[in-house]
Symmetry: C2
Subunit: 147 residues, 2 copies
DNA sequence: GTAACTTGTAATGTGATATATTACAAGTAT
DNA sequence: ATACTTGTAATATATCACATTACAAGTTAC
């Protein structure tokens, strides 16, 4: 299984809001076109990002803005905001191991800490990456294309 | 999204094969009971583990055995064997970013290396964990329960 | 204040996928 | 030969991500 495209959509959306902030009125429709994703999905993502304190959106009022500078938004912040993986953990555990089997009875407790260890390694790496890293990369690619 | 339960099933299965190797004839039916998972799924997982050189199974012949010692089987080996995440990457990317938008045109290239970086962090951590770590833990839990 | 826009969200459709289940072929062992 | 195994195809079921429609509710500009 994979981590939902909501995550990359959110990264894209945040980068867009910043990139176009001075030139266009950024709306969910605008973002839907840039991402190629349905506007309703975009609004859903925006809602989650808003709840996480990453963007400012107001019903009715157009003009979506960032609530923090790009450099203060990490991949982890976004992942936590848009993905519900946090609740269930990265790994799905088979649900009915036998209570009668000594291995089945203990596998969950024995494996859990290691699964968490893997999940934490992933999350720690996400904390090290900021949207500004991606945005900078985008800008330099755009410049190279213009030249 | 989450990583398929096939992964924890595989860890469970491997631990079982080792734990019961001297006392019971371990079959897919036996493993199905211990895991609480359908025998056909177990056989599918066993096939994948066989292909990865982790277990030995022969059609018709009962008695499934490990192809290597527990200490030489890492979480990563199993993850690679049973999960097809490797093909698509851990992250799903939204598929139709606009070619007309400068951000949309470049987001994929700009984000990809960072997504890979996260995936690699996760996989590296999985390489550090062996099934023997879990099996040892299970044994000591069983002993504590018997006392 | 009303017209033309926005966002928020419920409801529904659709497609993909993980797991369960049935059924049976094919191999092995006693 | 009988009674077990594994291998696998075919199908069912459930879940879930995303798309879509529809509309309520808010904002802004005139």
């Amino acid at each position: 299984m994979q981590i939902t495209s909501r995550f990359t959509i959110a990264v894209h959306v945040i980068a867009c809001i910043d990139y176009f902030k001075d030139d266009y009125k950024v709306t969910s429709g605008f973002l839907a076109k840039s991402t190629g994703v349905n506007p309703v999905i975009i609004r859903g993502v925006l809602s989650q990002l808003k709840e996480a304190g990453i963007v400012n959106v107001r019903q009715g009022a157009s003009g979506i803005a960032l609530a923090k500078p790009l450099g203060e938004i990490s991949f982890y912040d976004i992942y936590e905001a848009v993905d519900s993986v946090k609740d269930d953990g990265l790994f799905r555990f088979h649900e009915n191991p036998s209570e009668e089997c000594p291995v089945g009875r203990n596998i969950h407790a024995a494996a859990d800490s290691r699964l968490m260890q893997v999940q934490r390694a992933m999350e720690d790496e996400m904390k090290r990456i900021r949207v500004s890293d991606v945005a900078d990369d985008i800008r330099s690619r755009i410049q190279a294309q213009e030249a």
